[in-house]
């Protein structure tokens, strides 16, 4: 154990780099996923079949085909077709589309959960569809979206060890190096798990803060307990 600990301290810079890569992938993918979630969340609510149909299909496609396969498809199969993406780009595209598709259901559900009377009141006040969405509906729906988005963010973080399978030097990769260097397999895996747990805890508290901030803005739960 002391041997591993010394090596671990010694390897801290590279472990730190691994953490940075993992966090970067998580942040970029989350940003893409958020955009995809809103785009498809709104599109699948369209009253036009020509808009709704294809977007429903896209969402079901990315929810239904397994993230693992999507990532490997982008990394191994796409080059056969003549397009080669950087490994990190593969990861961000695959994670962004997959988690974005799940997120779009969150957006759709939250918009549907805003009481009908709120829409009607906004219409009665003569607001334009844009104003209705931005000033009345979205702030209320947003509060409902944050907790499920938080869950998706943790899921996304938990999917990042896949990066090490497509040659990216993320946290898992660096720990694997350390593992083969020291031969302390159990300690190395325990260390990765603990680091992931710590990152998840930070992200969780961040999302909780976002939720109470959004609630306070709405006038619910004043003080944000």
């Amino acid at each position: 154990m002391t041997g591993f600990f010394e090596e671990f301290v010694h390897a801290l810079p590279s472990v730190g780099e691994g953490v940075a890569v993992t966090l970067l992938a998580t942040a970029l993918s989350a940003a893409v996923a958020l955009i995809v979630a809103f785009a498809f969340g709104l599109l699948t609510r369209s009253t036009r079949l020509l808009v709704r149909g294809p977007s429903r299909f896209t969402v079901e496609f990315f929810r239904g085909t397994s993230l693992y396969v999507q990532l490997f498809w982008l990394f191994f199969a796409l080059p056969v077709l003549g397009f080669r993406l950087e490994p990190m780009a593969c990861a961000v595209v695959a994670f962004g589309l997959n988690f974005g598709a799940y997120g779009s259901e969150v957006v759709r559900g939250a918009l549907e959960a805003v009481p009908r009377t709120q829409w009607e009141a906004a219409v009665a006040l003569g607001m334009s569809p844009r104003q209705r969405m931005i000033r009345v509906v979205m702030p209320q729906a947003w509060v409902q979206m944050i907790p499920p988005f938080g869950n998706l963010l943790i899921q996304l973080l938990k999917a990042t060890p896949l990066l090490s399978l497509i040659t990216i030097a993320d946290l898992t990769f660096e720990m694997d190096q350390l593992r083969s260097l020291t031969g302390s397999t159990a300690q190395a895996y325990l260390a990765v798990l603990v680091i992931y747990y710590a990152i998840a805890a930070v992200l969780n508290s961040f999302m909780r803060a976002a939720e109470s901030a959004a609630k306070t803005r709405l006038g619910q739960d004043p003080g944000g307990s």
């Binding site: 079901e60 496609f61 929810r63 239904g64 085909t65 397994s66 993230l67 693992y68 396969v69 999507q70 490997f72 498809w73 191994f76 199969a77 056969v80 077709l81 943790i154 973080l157 938990k158 999917a159 990042t160 060890p161 896949l162 399978l165 898992t172 397999t185 159990a186 895996y189 325990l190 990765v192 798990l193 992931y196 747990y197 998840a200 805890a201 969780n204």
Partner: protein, 211 residues
């Protein structure tokens, strides 16, 4: 470029792993559903020295990556075959989710039901078995079904400990014949064909139970 011939030849190879994928999903779900229920009931006991460690462990398992749990179990528990180990890890991982589902389902059983049991002075065992669980489980079935679907889509992770499931087979076929495009496209199609109808059915069940 895409070749229909390669795809036709690869299809049986890819499908040959589908049995393992299904087996892992079915057995993994069984573990997750039973263990989740046990965990949910155990977390409601009033003794803190039981609930606190359980809560910490469940929280830890829930927020750390499945892939690393698989690796760790693979080296820490020698002597088990990869499939058994994979099913156990998958089941334990998902039990930490289903436990929350059961908890919400148990909380949703009206207080009056508990009070009635107290009034009838039913023994605790019977309260759970005859009154609370039948009502709770019916409410949570759709949510459990959704976890089965997502577990199905996470079975490819088992390939990291060399379980010969579908994606593992696809990957092998792809690398040997240089047919990654066909192999992974087939695997994706099988996932879509299997999971989409199931999720439509689950949604319908959810609507029916909600009425």
């Amino acid at each position: 470029m895409w070749s229909w011939e390669t795809a036709r030849e690869g299809l049986p190879v890819v499908l040959s792993g589908f049995g393992i994928t299904l087996l892992a999903t079915v057995l993994g779900s069984a573990v997750a559903m039973l263990l989740g229920l046990v965990l949910a009931v155990a977390l409601r006991t009033p003794t803190r020295w039981v609930t606190l460690p359980l809560r910490v462990i469940a929280d830890f398992v829930r927020s750390t990556p499945l892939m690393i749990q698989l690796f760790a179990a693979w080296v820490l528990v020698p002597g088990l075959n990869a499939l058994t180990l994979g099913i156990a890890v998958l089941g334990i991982h998902y039990a930490t989710y289903t436990c929350e589902v059961y908890r919400a389902g148990i909380d949703a059983v009206p207080r009056g039901q508990w009070e009635a049991c107290t009034a009838l002075s039913l023994p605790r065992r019977r309260v759970w078995r005859a009154v609370i669980l039948p009502q709770a489980v019916r409410n949570v079935l759709p949510a459990l079904g959704n976890y089965v679907i997502s577990m199905f889509k996470e079975t490819p992770f088992l390939s990291v400990i060399a379980v010969q499931e579908m994606v593992h087979r696809a990957n092998e076929y792809g690398s040997v014949h240089f047919a990654y495009l066909e192999a992974f496209t087939l695997a994706a199609t099988v996932f879509l064909l299997a999971s989409y109808p199931t999720s439509v059915l689950m949604r319908r069940l959810e609507k029916r139970l909600a009425r």
